[in-house]
């Protein structure tokens, strides 16, 4: 039972991550490869604030969101204002690499490659979320909130302006709107939810180290929204379902032990290629992601 609950917790963390990247990449058209930096900053800040300063999970999460927006959203918006298309994507890769370099080498703060162990479980009014089921309920609360938020937000005039930023920045400028502002809004909301995902991940595993927040992880989250599709809510959710549940389902396919691990990865990769080939905009995608 705990096995299933643990998988569902991880699934929900990826749903939050994918939904948040979808706003930036799907709705606003900023093809970005630094989601793991946003996510990792959230995880590290929450952990440091909880372990070193002794803050409660929710207080730590609040400050982590503020600091993460100040740091990452500002830097990313700044680069989005100066770099276009693939050059912006390259800028986000640079941010991701710098982030990894910082958490790997700033040992006084992050304990570098040794990671941060003993991250306490979240606590709210005396209720400690210290069992898989309790943690699942906490994660479910955040995931449901994220889905509802993005479902509501997608219908607002503000979100339409993000979509217009994606479609034609020059025309938006001619109409007297400031694209940089809309990019900042989009990136900041992305950072908020990535921080939540990072905080949940850190407190769920009780231990984080830099290897969980590499460029590979950013590519993976992008793959989730590419497979599921961008520009709506169903795409990232279905992409996360495929990413998390498919490898688990493949565990039940009987194969000789010597080849099982590699064969499962090959089958998994083939299924992903098949989906992308069959539905180039992803399973539920409204838009093609443009570099």
């Amino acid at each position: 039972m705990n096995y299933v609950i643990n998988i569902l917790i991880i699934l929900q963390i990826y749903i939050i991550l994918a939904l948040s990247l979808n706003l930036k990449t799907g709705f606003t058209g900023l093809l970005s490869l630094c989601q793991a930096a946003f996510y990792g900053t959230g995880a590290y800040l929450t952990s440091i604030l909880m372990v070193d300063i002794g803050l409660n999970f929710f207080t730590a999460l609040f400050f982590a969101i503020i600091i993460n927006i100040t740091l990452n959203a500002s830097i990313t918006t700044w680069s989005a204002g100066r770099l276009r298309n693939l050059y912006f994507t390259l800028g986000t890769i640079a941010l991701q690499i710098v982030f990894f370099g910082v958490i790997y080498n700033w040992q006084a703060l992050t304990r570098g490659p040794f990671g941060i162990p003993g991250i306490p479980k979240p606590e709210l009014a005396g209720l400690i979320f210290n069992t898989p089921l309790k943690f699942f309920i906490l994660t479910l609360f955040f995931t449901a909130s994220a889905i509802l938020f993005f479902y509501w937000f997608a219908k607002t005039p503000l979100c339409k302006l993000l979509e217009c930023t994606r479609d034609d920045e020059v025309w938006l400028t001619v109409l007297g709107k400031r694209p940089a502002y809309y990019k900042f809004v989009s990136i900041s909301i992305t950072v908020v939810f990535a921080t939540i995902a990072g905080a949940l991940y850190a407190t769920f595993t009780s231990y984080i180290d830099p290897t969980s927040f590499t460029l590979d992880e950013s590519i993976l989250v992008l793959t989730i929204i590419l497979v599921g599709g961008t520009g709506n809510i169903m795409g990232p959710v279905s992409g996360a379902l495929i990413y998390v549940l498919l490898p688990e389902a493949l565990r039940f396919v009987n194969m000789p032990d010597s080849i099982a691990a590699n064969a499962r990865m090959i089958i998994y990769a083939l299924i992903l290629i098949f989906i992308v080939r069959l539905k180039p905009n992803g399973l539920f995608g409204k838009f093609e992601i443009r570099g």
């Binding site: 005039p157 503000l158 339409k160 479609d167 025309w171 938006l172 001619v174 109409l175």
Partner: protein, 241 residues
């Protein structure tokens, strides 16, 4: 009546090539002004300078009495300068109606916190903008296309949509870069009629065209542009459309 736009001694050079050379002219409100000339005569550069996409080397752009020479595109747009491009610019992946709503001036809806603090004001503005957008679409015969994605429109319709967006944005001066390029005669006639109707409502239009006849049919005054200079002004008598 006071001039809407005054261009004074405007100069622009690119690596020694003269693009705009000591251009002077004034635009009165409620008029249509035409500019024609060969490719490379400097017409689009002149529009780029007026709309703020390029900076002049020398000279001034004065709009409604304010010197806006060093102001940004966004500032000029908010003052009321609208620009229509030769290749129509639209928000292709959103609906025709949403194109217009995005062009509207619903300032409250820009800020996320207002959705919590001022939901009633946002709702009211959305309804107001929606009504305004629907009226504009009706006027330009695009009501049946309101729900379509903008990329599904024909070139002529896209150009009309751009024009509608500028009207939604409450532009006072429209800079039209070859509004009849790449469309058939019927669509061109339709656009021509819309432009006349805009003028009759007091809008001010400046048009670039290769087709001299079109300009003389429509404009109150027509300038020829050659090698960056405005050569001559011909006044027509279309003030009574």
């Amino acid at each position: 009546m006071e001039e809407l736009l005054i261009i004074r001694d405007l100069n622009k050079h690119y690596d020694g090539i003269i693009a705009v050379d000591k251009v002077n002219f004034t635009i009165m409100p409620g008029t249509i002004t035409g500019i024609y000339g060969d490719n490379g005569a400097g017409k689009t550069t002149l529009f780029n300078i007026i709309s703020g996409f390029e900076k002049a080397d020398m000279g001034n752009v004065v709009f409604e009495g304010e010197d806006i020479t060093r102001k940004s595109v966004i500032y000029r747009s908010r003052k009321g300068i609208g620009r229509l491009f030769q290749i129509p610019r639209i928000f292709s992946d959103v609906s025709v109606l949403d194109n217009l709503l995005a062009a509207g001036n619903n300032h409250e809806a820009k800020y996320l916190h207002n959705y919590v603090l001022k939901p009633a004001a946002i709702r009211q503005n959305i309804l107001k903008d929606r009504d305004k957008a629907k009226n504009i679409l009706k006027e330009f015969n695009l009501t049946s296309k309101a729900g379509l994605k903008a990329f599904e429109l024909s070139v002529g319709e896209k150009r009309l949509l751009s024009l509608c967006s500028l009207l939604m944005n409450e532009a006072k001066l429209l800079l039209l870069d070859e509004p009849f390029a790449g469309i058939n005669e019927i669509a061109a006639l339709q656009i021509q009629n819309y432009l006349i109707s805009l003028k009759s409502r007091g809008m001010t239009l400046v048009m670039i065209e290769h087709d001299k006849t079109k300009l003389f049919e429509l404009a109150d005054s027509v300038y020829e542009m050659k090698q960056g200079s405005l050569l001559k002004k011909t006044s027509t008598s279309h003030a009574n459309y």
